[in-house]
């Protein structure tokens, strides 16, 4: 078993059992399952337990669905069995509601399949027309074209809908996006082809229209799937970090339930060392809580009945009883949510590369088509020929490659980062990350581990440390755990007593030992309040001071150095007090730092940087960081961060590896380079294709070849990123 730690109290899996009638279902996320033998071992192992009805492992997602009819407590033995087999598992609540993105994804897959079917069949007919050029009589040719139209028109109506819809929306908003010329080109190609076939001239662009849609849908599908995957991964992360709440039932018993099931008014008890699962008002019990995830401050906070407690605080004292309150009614979170929203609005002003390209591109294409029309008319072309050539310009310049440029690169880049444990929540997050030039760190939980560690173990006598450890091994208090972690496994004290809000006492080797706060032991307060401390008293000897502090993550220094090498200037903005912030900044060599900041102060600093023309990257984890994460040019949160911060951030680092930051920036910059190359390739294509169209040299065959060639070149160039 993994050691328990303060951040994730052991979950009672029985809380995740969902019952429908006599049948109970449990969903687990299983680690290490990779092969056929794993499937067999896991499924057979669990099936041997009593009352199990079905077990099914999804190897691609690592999810195990179990249904059984026995007692809820069977959940514990299922997890124990998996653990024994070498597959640690965690319970989670699966999403029941369907994600709108995955719905859109399915719609696009169907559109893609239809477009693929249509382009293959239309191409079959077109190739016979091209091959029979000069031999095929006009009647057969016209029949072939009508058949093509019969396949192409319904397919265009069905598969083209995503583009028509988005183009129309943008026109209604008096803007022009890439979908406007796409829709126009497809519709014009169809209308022109129907006209030509009806007139019996014999030039139809049905193949070009469906093939264009097919390639564009590939790009659109990749884009949507990327966002759906990232969204799913983020929700999985949230589901796996679900906290358990201990709720008082009507009959006075206490039941463990997932925190998401708690409703306002429910009465809860929070045991020592556990995280407060939902916001609430304390009704009984008093003591200290660790609010570092909420405020960034490492010094514990005193709470008493009537005080407001926020989810994410860790109870350091005796058990607390609280009444859950609705999140929207309270002042702190409402204020944070308002600030986050304001930040997100300012960020939505960012214009993506693709839209920027469309802004430059669309007027140019229309102008070119206009010039062609007027030019041909001026030089004595017939109205029919002039119109034909103008439309050919629209069709051939149609941004087939352009629309693929960005999604193809972003999908490859995001896939690579996903393997490194970085979730990218939107495509434009990578674009913004590539341009970041300043990095702003939060301290607590981001650069530091966010929990106490014993820092003066070297100065303590082994005997004192062992005595404290024997008591600490029996307690869940974060400071006790820090002592137990330092001392390692060993024996425990006799006659153990845990005095709520005070400390621990017991008997070690026949001596009376007390370990706890200065107040409980009637010791004078020390002047240095920067550190957390606890005192050890053995019999009547002098008290021994244990000092604790939140230590830097092991990879913090490397991460800061790597970012500096990438040319990013670092700053430290913390809600913690001056002494620990200064110490952390000094240790990491960060010259600019500020302490005791409120969420508004962090935003003010970010806005000031933006006004100076910088593009700040914010890295944070606490509730107090959420507004700053939303306001920054681009933001990254830790996987263990508060939920609101994870949802406000653009990227989430799983496993809390800070070194992944430099990696993400590196990939983002490479991706930007690739996007620019692809734009250049698309422009070269246009330089060749547009003159052909303007001078009336484009036949349906030329159009088909040009468009597929340019799309394939762009795709291949994007794929190069997998190896770089």
């Amino acid at each position: 078993m993994a050691p328990l730690d303060a951040a994730s109290p052991s979950l009672d899996p029985a809380a995740f059992v969902r019952a429908t009638g006599a049948e109970k279902r449990l969903d687990l996320a299983v680690q290490n399952a990779r092969c056929a033998a794993c499937i067999a071992r896991i499924e057979d192992g669990v099936r041997k337990l009593p009352t199990i009805k079905s077990v099914r492992l999804n190897l691609s997602t690592g999810r195990l669905a179990v249904s059984f009819t026995g007692d809820d407590a069977l959940a514990v033995s299922i997890i124990q069995t998996l653990d024994r087999l070498g597959y640690p598992a965690a319970p989670y609540t699966p999403d029941t509601g369907e994600d709108p993105r995955s719905k859109e994804e399915k719609r696009l897959v169907r559109a893609l399949a239809v477009a693929g079917f249509a382009s293959a069949n239309v191409m079959l007919l077109s190739i016979s027309v091209w091959a029979g050029e000069g031999e095929m009589d006009i009647a057969t040719k016209t029949m072939m074209h009508w058949l093509s139209g019969l396949i192409a028109l319904p397919a265009v109506a069905y598969s083209g809908w995503p583009f028509f819809e988005s183009g129309w929306k943008s026109l209604k908003a008096r803007a022009v996006n890439m979908d406007v010329p796409i829709s126009l080109a497809v519709i014009l190609a169809c209308v022109l082809s129907i006209y030509e076939t009806a007139m019996g001239h014999g030039a139809a662009y049905f193949d070009a229209a469906v093939m264009l849609l097919f390639f564009l849908l590939i790009g659109r599908f990749l884009d949507v799937r990327l966002r759906a995957r990232a969204g799913q991964a983020a929700r999985d992360l949230a589901a796996l970090q679900a906290t358990i709440a201990h709720r008082f039932e009507g009959d006075g018993s206490v039941k463990a339930v997932p925190a998401t099931d708690i409703e306002p008014g429910d009465k809860l008890v929070v045991p020592t060392g556990e995280r407060i699962p939902v916001d609430g008002r304390i009704v009984a019990g008093e003591g200290e809580v660790d609010a570092s995830l909420v405020t960034g401050e490492t010094q514990p906070l005193r709470v008493e009945p009537g005080a407001q407690a926020w989810s994410g605080m860790v109870n350091l004292g005796g058990p607390l009883t609280l009444t859950a309150t609705a999140a929207s009614q309270d002042s702190l979170l409402a204020e944070i949510a308002r600030l986050v929203e304001a930040g997100e609005q300012s960020r939505s002003r960012y214009v993506r590369y693709a839209d920027r390209a469309a802004r430059a591109y669309v007027p140019a294409v229309f102008a070119m088509a206009g010039v062609t029309l007027v030019g041909w008319l001026a030089f004595g072309g017939t109205i029919h020929d002039s119109l034909m050539n103008a439309i050919a310009v629209l069709i051939i310049t149609c941004p087939c490659a352009m629309a693929l440029v960005v999604p193809a690169v972003q999908v490859v880049a995001t896939g690579r980062l996903f393997k490194d444990g970085v979730l990218v929540k939107s495509g434009d997050a990578l674009e913004r990350l590539a341009t970041a030039d300043t990095v702003i760190f939060d301290k607590t939980g981001t650069l530091t581990e966010g929990r106490a560690r014993l820092i003066n173990a070297d100065t303590l006598s082994p005997d004192a440390l062992e005595a404290a450890a024997q008591l600490s091994r029996l307690s869940r208090h974060p400071l006790s755990r820090a002592v137990a972690d330092t001392a390692g496994d060993g024996p425990v004290a006799a006659d153990f007593q845990d005095v709520a809000g005070g400390g621990l006492m017991g008997r070690v080797d026949g001596r009376r030992v007390k370990f706890g706060s200065a107040r409980w032991l009637n010791l004078p307060d020390t002047e240095d309040d920067a550190a957390q401390e606890a005192w050890l008293v053995i019999d009547d000897a002098d008290p021994i001071r244990f000092v604790f502090a939140d230590t830097l993550r092991s990879d913090a220094t490397t991460a800061v150095t790597e970012l500096a090498d990438l040319g990013l200037e670092a700053e430290l903005l913390s809600g913690d007090r001056e002494a620990p912030v200064a110490a952390a900044a000094h240790a990491l060599g960060i010259p600019h730092w500020q302490s005791e900041l409120k969420p508004q102060d962090k935003i003010a600093r970010i806005d000031a940087l933006k006004d100076e023309g910088a593009s700040p990257l914010m890295v944070g984890d606490g509730v107090n960081d959420a507004p700053a994460l939303a306001a920054a040019h681009v933001s990254v949160s830790m996987g263990s961060a508060a939920e609101i911060s994870r949802s406000a951030a653009d990227l989430v680092i799983q496993g809390d590896k800070l070194t992944a930051l430099a990696r993400a920036i590196d990939v983002a910059r490479k991706a930007k380079g690739r996007v620019m190359e692809n734009f250049a390739l698309a422009n070269i294509y246009n330089l060749i294709a547009v003159p052909l169209a303007v001078f009336g040299l484009v036949t349906p065959l030329v159009a088909a070849i040009c468009m597929s060639a340019s799309s394939i070149v762009v795709m291949l160039n994007a794929l190069r990123l997998t190896r770089a």
Partner: protein, 56 residues
């Protein structure tokens, strides 16, 4: 040329069949666990795979 009269409908019909099969398979969740499906073929259902003595 009369061959076209049945060749083209046959080509379209076969294509449409493929399209319908694809729609059916996505709807049925055939692509939900691609890796699992590939590995499950290797499981030998006849003998016991989990040996109680072998477990740590």
């Amino acid at each position: 040329m009369t061959a076209l009269l049945w060749l083209i409908p046959a080509a379209l019909g076969l294509g449409a069949l493929g399209l319908i099969a694809f729609f059916w398979s996505t709807k049925e969740g055939q692509y939900d666990d691609l890796e699992g499906a590939a590995e499950r073929i290797l499981i030998d259902d006849d003998g016991p795979i989990v040996d109680d003595e072998d477990e740590g």
